[in-house]
Symmetry: C2
Subunit: 287 residues, 2 copies
């Protein structure tokens, strides 16, 4: 198992962690100043500054991506919506290529409309079937440009609004169905926050293996958790056995970055420098 | 599939639904006034009035139990805590016998101490093994007095504080391990709120069958959900396909009650009569 205190080069910042404090160009400056060599930016953050400008800034700073957030949201209430989702995923794949990301992370979507109001359908079975079709179609395109897709299973408490893929087993079943040859074109983004509770986690991480483990995200589960989305904890402040979990991931062959991703009203209200320093310090001592 | 609008006798009130409005004796009076013939009371509600008094009141009113809430919380940080938990479960089983419950519902417990403060251990694997041992020991006693135990898998968002059994599959694995003969002494309490998201739900309900399905609870999952514990929705106000789910449960052979259980700050702030009337009306039209 890798000793993170001696491997700062494995640290990656998911830039949503400080999205409320600064635009992406300033986040990248702060990363460069700290010697952070990896980030995972979100599309809206990139677009707010400009894709070309961010690309240049990253090249100039020698900062690479550990992933690109995010594609997905494949579900819709009608054919036009499904087609628009595919088109948007094609753009996301192209952006990921432009920025040199190793994978595009997929938050697959759930009941159509549920993120912003009453859902247009309650049928999670249909949503799951749309997700399968949407990944299959996006994978066809992603293969042509060499961009791996990483399905992120989201915590079951997000099953209505954000993602109807809710366990690692379910994500790996999709991978096996759509990429039976384990070509490397399709895998998973494993986030400790979403999966720590899963009684089948250990066996499924082993099943995933290095071929399927395309990204690994960390933060912590607070007790009590006060919000279903924006109350993630800093590593060490919650109950996830992060070292044990990373041990499983690395035993399965994962050699990539350890990406810190918090959505937290509490941490978003702190100065960016303090948050980044705390992330790096906890990465070394706890993650 | 049973048509609930013609089967009010299948309606059961989990009395936590109106726990903030009235003590249990008044809740029972209100149930009797409406012709409600089944309830599932909580131990603290019974104790606040007195076990004997509640027993008499139920007999006089001709009201029976669809379950008794709850046993469980088997996990602890030391041997004394584990022993105290077993002793408490023995008392819960005795009370369930006294009240003539068809089963004792088990909320199995999770990381010791996490419900009220920092957990004394973060090892969910140890918690799960304590739960298995606790159920096994309690089952030995429960068999001698003929009280079936119903393991309730709780939503994964409760895995730290309340229950480290988080899927129906996991609960059924425990049942198979501890009661391989499917004797009827051990089964599950299936609550739509906790399991609706599960991609394996349909197959696992079939696996459970009538032998293992000891109770069925309903409410609804709101979007957005604002609290991890006390923001359950009234049937019809959320996204769970309740009829489809009940169809699976009944196709598997379940013939018991449909128990309404809401923990909801919103509904707790409404008059008890309004809540009970709404529960019964939605039971007939939505559940």
């Amino acid at each position: 198992m890798r000793e993170l205190s001696r491997h700062q080069e494995l640290f990656s910042l998911n830039t949503a962690t400080v999205r409320m404090q600064a635009p992406l160009d300033r986040i990248i400056e702060a990363c460069a100043a700290r010697g952070i060599g990896l980030i995972d930016p979100w599309r809206d953050q990139v677009q707010a500054v400009g894709l070309d400008k961010i690309g240049r800034q990253l090249r100039d700073a020698g900062i690479k991506l550990s992933g690109y957030c995010r594609g997905g949201f494949f579900t819709a209430a009608d054919q036009a919506g499904l087609a628009a989702a595919l088109e948007d995923n094609r753009r996301a794949i192209d952006e990921a290529v432009t920025l040199g990301a190793p994978c595009l992370v997929l938050v697959v979507g759930a009941l159509p409309g549920a993120l912003t109001g009453p859902p247009k359908s309650k049928d999670i079975g249909i949503a799951r079937s749309q997700v399968r079709d949407g990944i299959a179609a996006s994978l066809d395109y992603a293969r042509t440009v060499g961009m791996p897709l990483a399905i992120e299973p989201l915590h079951p408490m997000q099953a209505a609004e954000r993602a109807c893929v809710n366990t690692l087993e379910q994500a790996l079943d999709l991978c096996d169905a759509l990429d039976p040859g384990r070509s490397g074109a399709l895998g998973v983004a494993l986030d400790a926050y979403h999966v720590w509770w899963d009684p089948k986690l250990s066996g499924q991480i082993e099943r995933a293996g290095a071929d399927r483990l395309l990204a690994y995200h960390v933060c912590d589960w607070l007790v009590p958790t006060k919000d279903l989305v924006n109350d993630r904890g800093m590593m060490g402040d919650g109950v996830i056995e992060l070292r044990k979990l990373r041990g499983m991931v690395e035993a399965a062959g994962y050699k990539g970055a350890v990406e810190v991703e918090l959505f937290s009203d509490a941490w978003w209200s702190q100065p960016m420098d303090d948050v980044l320093d705390t992330c790096m310090s906890r990465f070394k001592t706890v993650a």
